[in-house]
């Protein structure tokens, strides 16, 4: 039986926020417009509060010495504290301290904001959705009429292809790589972009953590990344090296 496209109970919306295309795809059989409005309002607030490009954001004010960390918004304090913990957990490979001496927590902010965005949809009683910010996403429930969400992991050498397919009804998926924006991840210990590694994909319960782990593992480079990811509790990984070797942790849920 074929279902006509216009009968599918879904909402797909794309907006450019935090310098990234944010895609929201809701497949519940009920009104989702107001929840999706709330979701985009939330992300705009996050952008206004955390952006290092906006002069009046709290992060910019902290960096100019006009606002003390302890006086910042509770969400800002929460994110900065998590960045500190992640730096320890990743042996310094995830580091929000920018080369100019300021802080730039955007490596965590995006994933953390999408986790909260997913909670907004949960609270509105929606159970079938995907929220993606620049290719890092949370999926939940079904991609109606299908029984789950099927997420392709981009092939790092061929943008038209995927290197793996992950199917899930509840998962966060983050991929860090050098192939799209040029070398935007660098090793904080050497100050250089890692070589010999094409991408790291991390999947698990939370996108903030998955994204930070992916960034850190990518910065570690080809020798350390696969082994480091194999020891993460609750998160699974796929690392693609420049010699086209793929390392997957034992529970990586691809087909």
């Amino acid at each position: 039986m074929t279902v006509a496209v216009h009968e599918l109970p879904d909402i797909r919306r794309v907006e450019q926020i935090m310098g990234l295309p944010v895609v929201v795809d809701v497949r519940d059989d009920r009104g989702a417009d107001s929840a999706v409005d709330d979701l985009f309002d939330w992300l705009r607030w996050v952008d206004a509060t955390f952006s290092t490009f906006k002069e009046d954001s709290e992060i910019s004010r902290i960096n100019r010495g006009e606002l003390r960390r302890e006086d910042a918004h509770p969400d800002v304090r929460e994110v900065l504290e998590r960045c500190d913990r992640l730096r320890e957990e990743t042996n310094g490979y995830f580091d929000m301290r920018a080369p100019d001496g300021g802080i730039d927590p955007s490596g965590l902010v995006k994933g953390w904001a999408v986790d909260r965005a997913a909670a907004i949809l949960d609270c509105a009683g929606l159970h079938n959705y995907a929220v993606s910010a620049g290719g890092d996403m949370r999926v939940r429930g079904r991609a109606v009429p299908e029984l789950a969400w099927r997420v392709g992991i981009q092939h790092p050498l061929d943008q038209q292809q995927v290197a793996a397919v992950v199917e899930s009804t509840d998962l966060a998926i983050a991929t860090s790589g050098a192939y799209a924006r040029g070398d935007h991840v660098w090793n904080p210990h050497s100050g250089r972009a890692p070589s010999g590694i094409l991408s790291v994909t991390i999947v698990g319960p939370e996108l903030g953590t998955a994204d930070a782990y992916a960034t850190a593992a990518f910065a570690m480079g080809p020798e350390r990344a696969p082994h480091w990811t194999a020891r993460l509790a609750g998160y699974e990984a796929m690392t693609i090296l420049a010699d086209e070797t793929v390392f997957k942790t034992g529970g990586f849920p691809d087909e």
Binding site: L20, E146, D158, A163, G177, H227, T249
Partner: protein, 139 residues
């Protein structure tokens, strides 16, 4: 009595060279297979403790006439020593440490709903998204 015959037979079998059918007319091929265990050095894993890996390597020496070819293959990998000095790393070891699968990069062609990847320029992303949406609608 029976036992000694068995032994004699197996010794005879071992001493017979394995003959490669294609080369049989010109030279005999002798194959020697040896499996050996190798233990790596103890290495420090970040701050979680030490790790040591043992591998079993199967070495095959094939001699055809005067030509000798040696191939080595790893047949087993194990981790006899691994970090366990904190609660967290004990937990991690129990869940994940020994399992890391390696394979070649491939292309998957299955139908998908979303794509995870490092961010492209937003225009290209939007185009590819549109294409994906169109495909999803057709499927």
């Amino acid at each position: 009595m029976r036992k000694s015959i068995t032994v004699l037979l197996s010794v005879a079998a071992l001493s017979l060279p394995i003959v490669d059918a294609t080369a049989a007319t010109r030279a005999t091929t002798k194959k020697i297979v040896v499996s050996k265990r190798f233990t790596g050095s103890v290495t420090s894993v970040d701050r979680w403790g030490n790790l040591q890996v043992t591998i079993v390597v199967r070495k095959t020496t094939t001699t055809t006439g005067t030509k000798k070819k040696v191939t080595r293959k790893i047949t087993a990998v194990s981790v006899p020593t691994y970090p366990n000095h904190t609660d967290r790393s004990i937990y991690i070891n129990q869940t994940a440490l020994p399992i890391l699968k390696s394979e070649a990069l491939r292309v998957q062609s299955a139908s998908i709903n979303m794509v995870s990847g490092a961010t492209d320029t937003s225009d290209a992303f939007a185009q590819s998204l549109q294409a994906a949406i169109l495909k999803a609608k057709k499927s």
